[in-house]
């Protein structure tokens, strides 16, 4: 296990390769986390079905690929489809759990996540699917570092989608309403904002972001019905590290997590990569809690 750790020091090129590939992966994590930060900030709901939205977006891309359409087109299409799905789920379920006990909303979205997982498993079987975009490979450092082009494209598109969201939130009227609701929902309601509609749009937007994220995952990596939970956990972790409402922090934390995960997968062995993510979540939360407790001691 620690042989691989030594390799990292002896062959820095491998480290560079791992870090670069990790950063490319991290942009996708950051995108999903971005949606979670939005929903958490505006509606105070932790959306356990986050990863399932990513998975659904991936299947949109896979279906377009099967239909002979270039999967890069799936990025906007998945966003639109998932916006509708998110809106519908809000109207059907989520609006009943907003403003209720925290645990009710967690458990309700957990139920949705199991439901979506199983529906997709029934529809598409449990096999791994890829939407082949047909791009080549980039070689750096005399071919010692390889990056597949689609991952680079996915990285760029993730940044573009994130940028679009920032512009939308800053410039559009709906974006302003969303930010106002996040600040104080009651005050926003008093000022004439239809918060119910804002919630619906926010949840739809979250699904749309996750959908385009999923389309990128399906092209650059792969998709199967059970990939959801790790994405939810990563998003949660990224938002906790970055802090609510800090979108630059979300991107940095996402990139950092991608790189850390890739290196951990190499050092510990690929079978422990997910275990590393989940254990890291626990460590991050315990650390955060310990820091909060220390602050309280100081106040006393």
């Amino acid at each position: 296990m620690f042989d691989n750790l030594m390799i990292l020091f002896q062959a820095p090129v491998i480290t560079v390769d791992l870090v670069l590939n990790g950063l490319l992966l991290g942009a996708i994590f950051a995108l999903a986390a971005y949606g979670m930060a939005l929903v958490w900030g505006v509606m105070s709901i932790i959306n356990i079905a986050q990863g399932e939205f990513v998975m659904l977006g991936g299947y949109v891309a896979v279906m377009m690929y099967w239909g002979g359409i270039h999967p890069l087109l799936a990025v906007p299409v998945a966003a639109v489809v998932m916006f509708i799905v998110g809106w519908a789920l809000y109207r059907a379920v989520i609006f009943r759990v907003v403003d209720r006990d925290l645990f009710v909303s967690i458990l309700a979205t957990f139920g949705l996540s199991i439901l979506l997982q199983q529906l997709m498993n029934t529809a598409f079987s449990g096999n791994v699917q890829i939407a082949e975009a047909g791009l080549g490979t980039v070689f750096l450092f005399d071919g010692l570092v390889t990056l597949s082009e689609i991952k680079v494209v996915a990285f760029v598109l993730a940044i573009v989608v994130g940028g679009c969201m920032v512009v939308f939130l800053k410039r559009s009227r709906m974006g302003q309403a969303i930010r106002a609701t996040a600040q104080n929902a009651r005050a926003a309601r008093v000022m004439g904002i239809n918060t119910d509609r804002v919630y619906a749009v926010t949840y739809g937007l979250n699904a749309a972001i996750c959908g385009s994220c999923g389309a990128l995952v399906a092209m650059a990596y792969n998709i199967h019905p059970y990939i959801g939970l790790p994405y939810t956990i990563r998003s949660f972790m990224i938002v906790v590290v970055a802090g609510l409402g800090n979108f630059a922090g979300v991107i940095l934390a996402g990139l950092g997590l991608g790189a850390a995960e890739n290196i951990a997968g190499f050092v510990l062995g690929a079978q422990y990569q997910l275990a590393f993510v989940f254990a890291l979540l626990v460590v991050v939360l315990v650390w955060r809690n310990w820091r909060l407790a220390a602050k309280r001691q100081y106040l006393k």
């Binding site: 932790i46 759990v97 957990f110 199991i114 439901l115 956990i233 989940f278």
Partner: protein, 353 residues
């Protein structure tokens, strides 16, 4: 007949039915054994989740730890665990257990399962139970899945291809019936212990933590110690339950069975909520209803059973958060010992209309 005597008679009848059930319904023995284990899951979840207000998705860790520790003990007493798991039942050595060996393995394995689950709960609990709300729920979810992933990568305990629990020798008789009584006794003991706990100061303390933890702490309760103890108590029972469940299923798959967050981890929460969170009988009723529903889904909706379960979670949580007991209590308050002022009740009903 006064209330105490009729209640005692009711308990005696339930015990008698439980003891006779495998002879009355011999085809459903393993399902009924599973039901008793589900009752243990729901009761112990409710101890922490319902009565203490710490909604955990991570209690499944203790089931998994119990399962593995019990199976490893059963094997490890007589053979090399690594060899046993590498062979997967075949290979050079023939791994057989005679009746004495098998019973010895169980006699040592089940207590060890409880103790190790308790130790794990004490260690994890002191790190995790400081969190509240969202953070605690997701952190425990992470704990459960992390444990599953670690077991999934660990060669010594069979990694992803799982571990076969030693098969019972023929001298044991009907294995399902054998373990039915283990599960039955465990459920009865769990119920008695939990019911007793709720009558003690400890029970009051965990309710105080649920209602207002800061105030409880300000009143001088050692909240951290109480929270960790509650988790350890539920882990002790879950460890034994895990050991029995592993022997009942005879096969441990780290992600599908032992640390199955999306099944046992959520089911135990669902059972407690379905019956009525924060009540003594709620989890029991919830577990019975849930197990029946689950078996019906499995029989008649094959392929769609988990879709139905997911839908059920959403429906129960969204529309029925009070659970069966909570619903009944609202409808028939007098039967639960609440005094109702008829004038006031009519007034409240009128206001709602």
């Amino acid at each position: 007949m006064n209330v105490g005597a009729s209640r005692l008679l009711g308990y005696a009848a339930l015990l008698a039915i439980g003891a006779a059930a495998p002879y009355l319904f011999p085809n459903y023995q393993s399902q009924m054994a599973e039901l008793w284990l589900f009752i243990v899951f729901a009761l112990t979840w409710d101890l922490v989740g319902g009565q203490m207000g710490y909604n955990s998705f991570g209690n499944v860790v203790f089931i998994g730890v119990g399962m593995y520790v019990c199976a490893i003990t059963q094997v490890g007493l007589f053979y090399s665990v690594a060899e046993y798991n590498a062979a997967k039942g075949g290979g050079q050595t023939v791994f057989t257990f005679d009746v004495a060996q098998y019973l010895e393995g169980l006699a040592l394995g089940l207590p060890l399962a409880a103790v190790s689950a308790g130790i794990v709960a004490a260690i994890l609990g002191s790190a995790v139970l400081g969190m509240r709300g969202h953070y605690f729920a997701i952190c425990t979810l992470g704990l459960g899945v992390a444990a599953g992933q670690i077991a999934n990568g660990w060669e010594w305990i069979g990694a992803g291809s799982g571990m076969v629990v030693p098969h019972a020798p023929s001298g044991i008789g009907d294995t399902a019936r054998f373990y039915y009584y283990f599960a039955f006794v465990l459920a009865v003991i769990t119920f008695i212990v939990v019911a007793w706990l709720y009558t003690t100061r400890f029970g009051l303390a965990i309710n105080a933590i649920r209602d207002d933890e800061d105030k409880a702490e300000a009143m001088g309760l050692p909240t951290t110690r109480i929270k960790v103890s509650a988790w350890v108590i539920s882990a002790l029972f879950l460890g034994v339950a895990g050991g029995i469940l592993g022997n009942l299923k005879r096969f441990i798959d780290p992600i599908e069975v032992a640390f199955a967050g999306a099944t046992f981890g959520v089911w135990m929460v669902l059972m407690a909520i379905l019956g009525g969170k924060g009540t003594l009988w709620g989890p029991v009723i919830g577990a019975v209803v849930f197990q029946v529903l689950k078996e019906v889904f499995w029989t008649y909706l094959l392929g769609w059973q988990r879709v139905a379960l997911g839908l059920m979670i959403v429906l129960i949580v969204v529309f029925f958060p009070q659970g069966i007991l909570g619903f009944l209590r609202d409808r028939f308050p007098e039967r639960f010992g609440h005094k109702v002022d008829p004038a006031l009740a009519r007034g409240a009903g009128g206001a709602a209309e």
